[in-house]
């Protein structure tokens, strides 16, 4: 496959990563080359093969649905770039 610049822009938007316009072309080339390389898998016959989703052949363990941790918001917020009154602060998302 060969990704065009619009597709790269769309992927970057989906991934929420700003990519400078002058880097799009190089990136398109790199990504196309990697995707072209991984497409070798099309040659493998996987008829009737179940996808492997985990190495561990076990049932996911379940714990009791109870609160076991918490009540220290100041520690949770200590690493926030912006916090006030026990909340994270982000740019305004609702227009008045």
């Amino acid at each position: 496959v060969s990704l065009d610049l619009e597709t790269v822009k769309t992927i970057a938007l989906l991934a929420r990563i700003r990519v400078a316009d002058d880097q799009l072309e190089g990136l398109a080339r790199e990504l196309s080359s990697i995707l072209g390389w991984v497409e070798q898998l099309n040659a493998v016959d996987t008829t009737d093969v179940a996808p492997m989703t985990s190495v561990a052949e076990m049932t996911l363990p379940q714990r009791d649905d109870v609160v076991t941790d918490g009540r220290y918001p100041e520690r949770v917020l200590a690493n926030a770039p912006a916090a006030i009154d026990g909340f994270y602060v982000v740019p305004k998302v609702v227009e008045p």
């Binding site: 992927i11 990563i17 190495v55 561990a56 690493n79 926030a80 305004k92």
Partner: protein, 503 residues
């Protein structure tokens, strides 16, 4: 003890137990060695205050005759991918600027509870994505075996390159690493040390910065096989906080070291003799086969037919999982924030500036292969091929007890080499990735020197949760190889790399 940093971990353990040396003395020797070797850039953060405080407590406990464990007072280094409470944890990424976790990873908490002394956090490829350590936001690590004859500095391998360099240069008695596609084993091979990736599920992933959750696994990096067994014992074990942590009992790993390998069946996968393999890698492999035969093992050829598709499978599965795991870096809860007029713009600015080129590349690949219309063609297909790769191993292990392969296709390359094309760099992991996809234990043992005088490792691969046989065979290789070469920049050997540290 003249220069205690030259001791193995097992010897340091004995010296502490007998009172021949104190933990503070041992720790100071390591801190001095680290200061003299700062030019290697092996550490992102040094933690001398924490180290000395813990060592003082060890000495107090030992004076009273109540050590926490055999590891009590042993100085070790921690890959900067493990969250350490109150200590900067970066994953070598700009996007985690200033992040001091409010909690301790399970593996480092276990090491702490055993009394191990943390010297600092080691450098790595950004988010553990790389095979050379050059993608670190904190700059590349230099391999202590370098520079090469042409004067160029060499990579230590990656992603656990700082840990490998620190162990090889005698700055610590062991280090933690993590391995997603070879990140413990390939740097171990490049730096002439032992690196063990345990079975997936053996060590808890809780508190380790996630890269690809179905593949990530922590393990020990040390100078000897016995040391790896000792360190693994303290790192491993079931943890309810990691749902993929295996609820299985731990054997006594150290007891397996030096065991009899007579009658063991060693498998040699034909598909690993790849086209264009360097002569010296093939020759080393043949020597390894001879050593194991001489020690009484039987050797037979096995086939792992889907080997040649492992790298492509990995470079779909790992980026897909990474793109999902790394969605959490959004400039809201921790680390870097680059302002934007809207929330969305803030996300995009932060992630655009915070991620390096390789991480960005993998997130974009992962986003693409998981996106609507492409999921089946790429991701689902890769999961199916992964099932075939795992089946190949299961069938091989019906006939043999372990597999023997080279660890990496070459010796250490120069910093800046292999950068033109991402796929060239990915090929470094050709022998380690299949094991990761199948979740099996694999260990690299230093086995010889290349023509350029650089270390080369051999890899022993075992059945799930059979690290004991891996350690047993690894120690037989170690005994036969008699690998006692030391890097040129082994502590104090040259002033070149100490300039930055002492100025």
């Amino acid at each position: 003890v003249s220069d205690p940093t030259h001791l193995t971990l097992a010897d340091a353990r004995r010296a502490l137990a007998s009172g021949a040396i104190g933990a503070v003395e041992l720790t100071r020797a390591c801190l001095d060695a680290m200061a003299a070797a700062r030019g290697l850039n092996a550490f992102i953060t040094e933690t001398p205050e924490i180290a000395l405080r813990r060592a003082e407590r060890t000495d107090a406990r030992r004076a009273k005759g109540v050590p926490l464990s055999g590891l009590d007072g042993i100085p070790i280094a921690i890959k900067d991918l493990f969250c350490t409470e109150g200590v900067l944890t970066t994953a070598a990424s700009h996007i985690l600027d200033g992040f001091a976790p409010p909690y301790e990873s399970t593996v480092t908490a276990k090491l702490k509870a055993a009394g191990a002394v943390m010297l600092g956090k080691t450098n790595l490829d950004e988010f553990a994505m790389g095979s050379s350590n050059v993608t670190s936001h904190y700059g590349p690590v230099k391999n202590p075996w370098g520079p090469a004859g042409d004067g160029r500095d060499l990579v230590p391998g990656g992603s656990s390159g700082g840990s490998a360099a620190a162990v090889a240069a005698g700055l610590c008695f062991g280090a933690t690493g993590t391995d997603t596609g070879g990140s413990i084993r390939q740097p171990a091979s490049f730096c002439g040390i032992v690196g063990l990736k345990p079975t997936y599920g053996r060590c808890s992933r809780w508190g380790i910065v996630a890269f690809a959750s179905s593949l990530d696994q922590a393990g020990p990096m040390t100078r000897t096989v016995r040391d790896a067994a000792i360190l693994l014992q303290a790192m491993a074990g079931h943890d309810p906080k990691d749902s993929t942590s295996a609820p299985v009992a731990l054997p006594d790993f150290e007891a397996a070291v030096g065991g009899d390998i007579r009658g063991l069946r060693i498998g040699i996968p034909t598909e690993y003799r790849i086209a264009g393999m360097a002569d010296e890698i093939g020759a080393l492999w043949d020597r390894g086969i001879g050593w194991l035969e001489a020690a009484g093992a039987t050797v037979e050829t096995v086939s792992l037919p889907h080997t040649r598709h492992a790298l492509a499978t990995y470079y779909i599965v790992a980026p897909a999982e990474a793109s999902s795991n790394l969605a959490r870096y959004d400039g809201v809860r921790f680390g870097l924030r680059v302002p934007g007029a809207t929330l969305d713009e803030m996300y995009r600015n932060t992630r655009g500036e915070g991620f390096g080129a390789e991480v960005r590349r993998r997130i974009l690949i992962g986003t693409y292969v998981l996106s609507a219309g492409y999921y089946d063609a790429y991701y689902l297909k890769a999961q199916k091929v992964r099932a075939l790769i795992a089946r190949d191993f299961r069938e091989a292990f019906a006939d043999v007890d372990v597999l023997l392969t080279p660890t990496a296709p070459s010796d250490a390359f120069a910093i800046g080499e292999n950068l033109d094309d991402p796929i060239t760099m990915y090929l470094n992991d050709v022998f380690t990735v299949p094991t990761s996809l199948a979740g099996l234990p694999g260990m690299s043992v230093p086995a010889g020197l290349s023509r350029r005088g650089l270390p080369l490792g051999l890899q022993v691969i075992g059945r799930p949760f059979d690290e004991e046989t891996v350690l047993k065979v690894g120690s037989a290789l170690e005994a036969a190889a008699q690998f006692d070469a030391r890097p040129r920049r082994y502590r104090g050997d040259t002033g070149v790399d100490s300039r930055r540290g002492t100025s």
